[in-house]
């Protein structure tokens, strides 16, 4: 059903050697449904009005996984997909999305995934999204993900986004609206190299009492790549928010981080930190005293930083 290239991409973006044995699955390949499996608690349906799927997770579903990887292996393919998640009260699920592009041609290929999450009361969701690109052609591999999250009272979402290799151009937008006592943790990891461009913009609205968010962005910009971060958090109730952008810059890369925090309530406590700098020379020297070459030391430091 899947060829070798598709399987390898699946491995990169979803840690899947093949179709997973359990849990709900929807694999999309070159704009078409390649495989789908529902479970008793998780129902995936194709949308009728536009491209994409609705994923319904029943209330109080416990410890189930949903895999919805996307694979693009054709050049000049421009995919736009709308995926809507309806997560019932008290459900606990891990959702692994991710998109891999293999572009051997000379035309650009792109995938724009627009994901909307309606997270019910006290539901707990871990959402992992990995992006990966490969292929020798001159065509660009472009990914523009949008993630929109609505968290009801007591809901908790951990959003992990990873883009380590091969994506030439990416514009990420994340928006989250948090109700009372809801919690959002965002862990963003990004590595750009060559002439790649990556942009990540985020709006988090802490609207409910005791809503909390922690945004941690770690990135490495190598060669001539360019990164832009624009995380914004708005506190509209007694709430807490912490945004930390941390970037390692190398070669002739450029990184710009513009965190913005807005308090509209006297009991809103928001903090931001942003740091951009090269690898500390002392770190490389220390690892060299342990027997690593300068290159190996650099690799170890980046590996740890992005883990």
């Amino acid at each position: 059903m899947l060829n070798e290239i598709q399987k390898r991409i699946l491995q990169e973006v979803a840690d899947l050697a093949n179709v997973p044995e359990s849990g709900a699955v929807n694999i999309r390949s070159n704009g078409k449904k390649a495989f789908r499996r529902n479970t008793d608690n998780i129902i995936i349906e194709s949308k009728s009005d536009k491209d994409g799927i609705d994923i319904h997770i029943k209330p109080f579903t416990k410890k189930e996984n949903v895999h919805i990887p996307v694979v693009v292996t054709e050049t000049d393919r421009h995919d736009v997909v709308y995926n809507d998640f309806f997560i019932g009260e008290g459900a606990e699920v891990k959702i692994v999305a991710g998109c891999g592009i293999h572009n051997c041609g000379d035309c650009d290929s792109s995938h724009d995934g627009i994901h909307t999450f309606h997270v019910g009361r006290n539901a707990k969701v871990t959402y992992v999204e990995k992006h990966y690109g490969e292929g020798e052609g001159t065509g660009k591999k472009i990914l523009n993900p949008q993630t929109v999250l609505y968290l009801e009272e007591g809901a908790s979402v951990t959003l992990e986004t990873v883009q380590i290799k091969g994506v030439d151009d990416t514009k990420r937008y994340t928006k989250a609206v948090l109700g009372e006592n809801a919690e959002l943790v965002v862990q963003e990891k990004l590595l750009t190299h060559g002439e790649q461009y990556a942009e990540s913009e985020m709006d988090v609205f802490l609207n409910g009492k005791d809503a909390r968010t922690r945004v941690v962005s770690r990135s490495v910009a190598q060669d001539k790549s360019v990164q832009l971060f624009y995380p914004r958090v708005e506190g509209n109730a007694a709430c807490f928010g912490h945004v930390a952008c941390d970037a390692i810059i190398m070669g002739e890369a450029k990184v710009r981080a513009i965190p913005e925090i807005t308090c509209n309530h006297v009991d809103a406590g928001l903090v931001h930190e942003a740091a951009i700098g090269k690898i500390a020379g002392e770190q490389i020297l220390k690892l060299m005293t342990l027997g690593l070459t300068a290159e190996e030391a650099e690799e170890k430091i980046l590996e740890g930083f992005l883990r």
Partner: protein, 239 residues
């Protein structure tokens, strides 16, 4: 055997050239345990860095086991069995204590092995192996992890730069015990830079460095009393 021959390190100061190290020659026999002491700014750390390859001498030679290593880089010297624990160790965002110990040991370490190195420096290992070596660790903790990496590397020559600095009384007792064991086992060549009487007294030989020069060296017993007498007299040169 470690042989330092006429090592000089000159920097350009405000008032012209200045020798941080001035014609330092020293031979350390295999499996000996020596302590280098002396006033702040005397050149101890610089000498250690020159041996490790972290600083480049303006003149002179470093021989290790008869081989001239003066032109080798840090990693090459490390592979030949030279190691150094920093006076002020760096921190690493995202690197775990266990990662650092594994890099030092050059292999995967199981939980018990990783813990054993931490126990030797007085850290309750269980609480530390999976922590990041970042700013969340205290100064004394980072310092002890640094020492543990040198122990894990298990090189033939171990240089420790003020291992006692910033370390509490309890951990210091454990650390002294570890150094005493290293001394008694006589398997490694140990150079410790220290200002601490209890460490100085472990030494087979004490080397006093001040003003970029070796002012004196000799067996621990009589040297320590001589140094103290000079300190009391308000002078850091032994005559």
């Amino acid at each position: 055997m470690l042989q330092l021959k006429d090592l000089t390190l000159t920097v350009e100061g405000e008032n012209g050239p200045h020798n941080i190290l001035n014609d330092v020659s020293l031979t350390v026999e295999d499996k000996k345990f020596i302590v280098i002491t002396g006033p702040n700014g005397g050149g101890k750390t610089t000498l250690a860095k020159v041996i490790m390859g972290l600083a480049t001498p303006t003149a002179g030679q470093i021989l290790w086991n008869g081989e001239d290593v003066t032109d080798l880089d840090i990693a090459q010297r490390a592979k030949k069995g030279i190691s150094y624990g920093f006076q002020q160790p760096p921190r690493f965002k995202g690197m775990k204590v266990r990662d650092l110990l594994q890099i030092a040991a050059g292999r995967k370490l199981n939980h018990a092995e990783a813990c054993s190195y931490l126990t030797k420096v007085g850290l309750c290992a269980r609480d530390y192996v999976d922590r990041d070596v970042d700013t969340s660790l205290s100064g004394g903790e980072v310092k002890r992890i640094e020492i543990a990496t040198v122990l894990a590397k298990d090189a033939d020559l171990m240089i420790f730069d003020e291992p006692e600095a910033g370390i509490d009384l309890w951990s210091f007792a454990k650390l002294t015990e570890t150094f005493r064991e290293l001394h008694d086992r006589q398997e490694k060549t140990i150079i410790i830079i220290s200002h601490q009487e209890r460490i100085i007294k472990l030494a087979d030989e004490i080397v006093l460095i001040a003003g970029g020069q070796i002012q004196h060296k000799g067996p621990a017993g009589d040297m320590y009393d001589k140094i103290m007498a000079q300190v009391v007299a308000g002078c850091n040169k032994l005559v």
